[in-house]
């Protein structure tokens, strides 16, 4: 819980235009995962699949309910938008998928 608060502060105190949440990212843009704002036990299911800070990901489409479907190193992962809202990413506009 403490990490969440700290990182929220970090995001608000140091506004970085390239940082955003995966849920707010434009579709089909490749971004780099910076931080996972989830308690350890909830983050683990991402981590053990290799979704760790530093990896690049790309939300390719939305499910009918509006949840993002994310492409990570050949793996297509469907997650809820609540979770995508906890993934802090850096936009790298020059990169293409």
């Amino acid at each position: 819980m403490r990490t969440i608060l700290n990182k929220r502060l970090l995001l608000t105190n140091h506004p970085d235009p390239s940082l955003c949440r995966l849920a707010d990212c434009p579709m089909r843009e490749t971004v780099e995962l910076v931080h996972i704002e989830l308690p350890d036990d909830q983050a683990e299911c991402l981590l053990e699949r290799g979704v760790v800070p530093g990896c690049s990901m790309c939300a390719t489409r939305r499910s009918p309910a509006g949840d993002p479907i994310v492409l990570i190193d050949g793996m297509v992962l469907a997650m809820r938008r609540e979770m995508a809202g906890c993934l802090l990413v850096r936009r790298r506009l020059a990169d293409a998928i």
């Binding site: 909830q42 489409r61 499910s63 793996m75 809820r80």
Partner: protein, 640 residues
């Protein structure tokens, strides 16, 4: 290819006794990487395979068929992403690898199977696997797809970097499986040579010492570095999957296709299966008559014709419908559509309080609640798992299908409802599936707000690429299903039919069988009657309900036997005609509703007891469902 083909006729699952001389090789890997397909290739067993993450929920053991006849046992474990043991599945896998499962020795070697099209993320498992310090083979599965999508990796560099043997396979076509067999043979020889030497002299082959598991990020970075040195080129995106997803996960199109698929399945259960059912029915009736004419008029002819043919025959008729249902479920699973359906359904599941992962158990519940309850092991949260187990038997399993089909055919006119798309009968069937689903959702909603309150857990679902379902895999599954269905008909239903027939024959009056109302069975039925009279059922249905506690479809056989005995003199053998005489529309609908809700299945009660570790949950579940069934049937009978 030819030598990989499994010889037919060897399909019974064998539990290999723990014989010390045969080495045990465990198959590990992430979900949906092809472990079970490889296991089936190696052992010739027929495990259920699906293009849906998390299908193997129990461990399976089989003896590999090797060219030199060496004895090596292969263990197929549930797919895991790690060994943190958050879910029961991960715990089973970890305990099996550490030799902590009673009656199962610890493995002598490991085979790690990964999907080579997702190598970067799938190799996250290599370090935990190598930490067991056993001879390990890394299998890069789905190599054909990697090639087709122009990906590549240098196996030799990968092997050197990781200190393991690396082979490429395509388990579906059997390509490269011989290399895995060679690894198994090697294990057997290693065991033999170790046995020849003195105790303690055996030295494990040298292996590269990898760092102890650090954080996930460290692990991931090391994997990435290894992959870079092995010049791994990730495959291009699967255009077929992309294109299909743009339709099947479309905002409007997705749910529409989802609905259309469901309608198609239900409509075809009636339209496609009817000609086949007529065929089976004619066969059963014809063979019964043929026998009746040729056999002498004795008591055992009556038992055979009235009891066995009437009882078992009336159930066997429903085999085609069950096969059509499983054909569709098989196509949906193997093609990869099911994972998309889970994504479409997830929001609904969340509102109920269950997580999306519960979708697989609930969906398998449409086939049979027993494997579905085992599949609930993939649900990580214990409260969610209990809630899933509790509501799974509400899903309309295939054993209800014969009962539904019989009553619908007898009472619902065959009229089109939505033109040729949906008939009234298919719509009724769909309605029955729907009330089961609604009961499941409502119950889950209640449970999650009362007994099993808890926080929602995250939902992550890997979407496998779409694949064309293999004829072999689906054909084998249908064959398996037929076998299970016929075996049940041949054991439970046969036994019940014979017992019931005997009960109709005693006590003997004036040297002949009594009138059925005065028989032992009739008297038992009349004891039950007061409890079910408010539902509009007579004692015959009551006996059927009691006998269906063993398994739901038994009621069809029971009624077949009772009416067979009653009508032996009249020569009428039509179950539907007889039902129409005994039930009106209201009580028939009531009976359908009763079957939709009641937990009439001893196997389910037994498996719930095992999975929840006590009688509390199965007892609660049984009485809750029975109560709901009684009230539901009463209301239906009163309304109509």
């Amino acid at each position: 290819m030819s030598q990989v083909q499994d010889p037919p006729g060897r399909w019974r699952r064998r539990t290999v006794p723990s014989r010390t001389e045969a080495p045990l090789v465990a198959l590990v890997g992430p979900p949906n990487s092809g472990k079970t397909t490889l296991f089936n290739r190696l052992t010739g067993l027929r495990q259920k395979v699906a293009n849906y993450p998390g299908v193997t929920v129990e461990k399976h053991l089989g003896r590999a068929r090797l060219p030199g006849g060496e004895a090596v046992d292969v263990l197929d474990l549930p797919g895991v992403n790690g060994f943190s043991a958050r879910s029961l599945d991960e715990r089973v896998t970890r305990d099996a690898l550490e030799g902590r499962i009673p009656g199962l020795r610890s493995p002598d070697a490991l085979v790690l199977i990964v999907d080579s099209t997702r190598l970067e993320t799938q190799l996250m498992l290599i370090e935990p696997v190598l930490s067991y310090d056993l001879p390990t083979l890394l299998v890069l599965n789905m190599a054909d797809e990697l090639d087709a999508r122009r990906g590549d990796v240098r196996d030799d560099v990968l092997a050197k970097e990781l200190g393991v043997t690396v082979v490429r396979t395509d388990a579906r076509t059997g390509r490269g499986v011989d290399a895995v067999r060679a690894f198994l043979v090697e294990q057997s020889q290693r065991r033999a040579s170790a046995a020849q030497r003195a105790e303690g002299e055996y030295v494990a082959p040298p292996r590269i010492q990898l760092p102890v598991i650090g954080t996930f990020t460290d692990r991931r970075n090391r994997i990435r570095a290894v992959n870079q040195r092995a010049s791994y080129t990730a495959p291009g995106p699967s255009f077929r999957s992309e294109r299909l997803d743009s339709i099947l996960l479309h905002r409007v199109g997705g749910p529409l296709v989802f609905l259309a698929v469901i309608l198609l399945v239900f409509q075809s259960i009636f339209t496609w299966a009817t000609p086949m059912m007529d065929g089976v029915e004619a066969l059963v009736a014809g063979s019964g008559e043929w026998l009746a004419v040729r056999l002498p008029d004795t008591w055992w002819r009556a038992l055979l014709i009235e009891g066995v043919w009437g009882g078992v025959g009336s159930v066997v008729v429903f085999l085609p419908q069950i096969l059509v249902l499983f054909l569709f479920l098989g196509i949906l699973e193997d093609s990869g559509y099911l994972a998309r359906a889970a994504v479409i359904a997830d929001r609904l599941m969340m509102r109920v309080g269950l997580q999306g992962r519960a979708f697989l158990p609930l969906l398998s519940g449409y086939a049979c609640a027993v494997p579905a309850i085992l599949a609930a092991r993939t649900v990580e949260n214990e409260r969610d798992r209990l809630a899933t187990i509790f509501v799974t038997p509400f899903m309309t399993c295939s054993a209800r299908l014969p009962v539904y089909a019989l009553l619908i055919a007898a009472f619902i006119p065959d009229r089109p409802l939505l033109g040729p798309v949906l008939g009234l009968r298919a719509a009724t069937l769909l309605g029955l599936y729907a009330i089961g689903l609604i009961a499941a959702i409502g119950t889950a909603f209640l449970l999650k707000r009362t007994l099993l309150r808890g926080t929602p857990t995250p939902f992550l679902m890997e979407l496998p690429p779409y694949r064309i379902p293999g004829l072999r895999s689906i054909g084998l599954r249908l064959l398996d299903r037929s076998r299970i269905f016929l075996r049940r008909a041949g054991r439970i239903i046969l036994a019940v039919a014979i017992v019931l027939w005997i009960l109709t024959q005693v006590p003997r009056t004036a040297g002949g069988p009594p009138h059925i109302d005065d028989s032992a069975l009739g008297r038992i039925g009349q004891v039950i009657e007061p409890a079910i009279a408010p539902l509009g059922f007579d004692w015959r249905i009551g006996v059927g309900l009691v006998s269906s506690l063993a398994a739901r479809e038994v009621i069809v056989g029971t009624l077949g036997t009772i009416y067979g005995v009653e009508d032996a003199s009249e020569g009428s053998f039509e179950l539907q005609d007889r039902l129409r005489r005994d039930l009106d529309l209201g009580s028939a609908i009531g009976l359908l509703v009763f079957f939709a809700f009641a937990l009439q299945c001893m196997s389910t009660v037994a498996v719930v007891r095992r999975e929840t570790g006590g009688w509390k949950w199965p007892a609660l579940q049984f009485s809750y469902m029975l109560g709901l069934a009684w009230v539901g049937a009463f209301v239906a009978n009163w309304l109509i």
